[in-house]
């Protein structure tokens, strides 16, 4: 079995999906030329450019709301919340009555940063389902991560 890290698995899946389906795009803070705070989107900006690897301002609520808007028109946005702590800033838009829109929100799992600190390593997976009608997938290993990128 091939060994890959979480990051590599997610990146491979994103790239595969974006090559396969022009409606898939990623957006978030620092996901562009920089390649993401954890490096998930490294190299993707080179291949897909500004319009499909969209750097956003520090605006979590807008990131989620924009994703809902794009999904309403048949797009498959994959939005990155840079740290798990930030996801609650984007809660309101997850309650939008957008019908059966497909938005994937992706955030680093608790413990992504193993240094002893109180910030940026919070566990939010139990909180998110409180936003109604949403599934949370927490992949246990690298290749599972890859399958989980586009669960919808």
């Amino acid at each position: 079995m091939r060994e890959v890290t979480y990051l590599e698995a997610i990146r491979e899946a994103l790239v595969e999906e974006m090559r396969r389906d022009p409606k898939v795009f990623v957006l978030g803070e620092d996901v562009g030329a920089y390649g993401g705070a954890f490096g998930v989107t490294q190299g993707m900006h080179d291949e897909f450019g500004d319009t499909r690897v969209v750097d956003t301002p520090i605006s979590e609520s807008a990131i989620v709301g924009i994703s809902v808007g794009a999904a309403l028109r048949g797009y498959r946005p994959v939005a990155e919340m840079q740290f798990a702590d930030f996801i609650s800033c984007g809660f309101d838009p997850t309650r939008q009555p957008g019908g059966d829109v497909a938005v994937s929100l992706r955030w680093p799992r608790d413990g992504a940063d193993c240094r002893p600190r109180t910030e940026r390593r919070e566990c939010r997976r139990r909180v998110v389902p409180l936003a109604e009608s949403r599934s949370v997938v927490r992949p246990p290993a690298g290749l599972e991560s890859r399958r989980a990128v586009n669960p919808l």
């Binding site: 795009f25 609520s61 807008a62 709301g65 924009i66 309650r95």
Partner: protein, 327 residues
Amino acid sequence: MPPLKRTKFKLAPEQLLEMFYWLKLIRAFDERLSVLVKQGKVRSGVYTGIGQEAIVVGTCYGLRKEDFICPLHRDLGTFLMKGVDARAMMSQMFAKETGLSKGRDSALHSGVTELGIFGNTSMLGANLPVATGLALTFKMEKVDHVVIAYFGEGASNVGDFHEALNFAGVQQLPVIFICENNQYAYSVPIEKSMAIDDVADRAHGYGFDGVAINGNDVLAVYQSTVGAIARARAGDGPTLIECKTYRWHGHSEHDKAFYRSDEELAMWKSRDPIPTFTTYLRTRHVLDDAKQKEVEDKVKATIDDAVEFAMNAPDPTPDEATTDLYA
């Protein structure tokens, strides 16, 4: 940033009469709902836009089918102008099977994606990032469709408003932000919620133009909107149009609105958008007694028919309770 130019426009007499019809229909729809809710016949909370109709008509009249709108809880008229049938709209307020949400909801939270209508949430301002996302897809596809995003002056104090305008400015998106400044956020007057006079000024902080206009003048609203639409279609980015207006009723029909004076209400009623436009049409001989009666009869027939239809429409049945539910 070049100053906004005055947009030239020409409307044929038939188009002006059509605008007149919409103003009358939307007013009549809200007035009827206001009566029906007091009779306990409407299940929805009713948030009328009586007094604000010129904004709806002026902003929607220049739209294409492909354009999107993200209306407010007070903008029932935008649904009608974007193509929702009066019967379906009335059924929605009665929470009947024939309504937009098949009786699952009884307010304006149900959008109609195929008609380009996004239903709003109760978190005011939260529709603005969604509008921005819709506009982003138009830019991605290099098509010249636009999005009209409505919000109240109260929602311009919400973080989402600022996040959406900032992103739309950065990306030069084809979105027109329409502020319906009706002076009160529920009971809180504008002077207690912001330290500036014009919401329009906020646009400048995000790199695009904002204008404050008379929201009770349907042609002024139309003129500003078609100008903004033309710029958006040409790839010149967003515009904010602040329409100064006033809601005659309370925030909702259960609100007695004791927080404002009779004199203030009377002053704004004297600026009723409908008589103003009626006089305009009459002095230009577009409208006469016969034509006005024709419009009024058509409006009454449409509303009567919609109410009759909704009253007799079936309720959703219990065995459908889990239909369309995700989880």
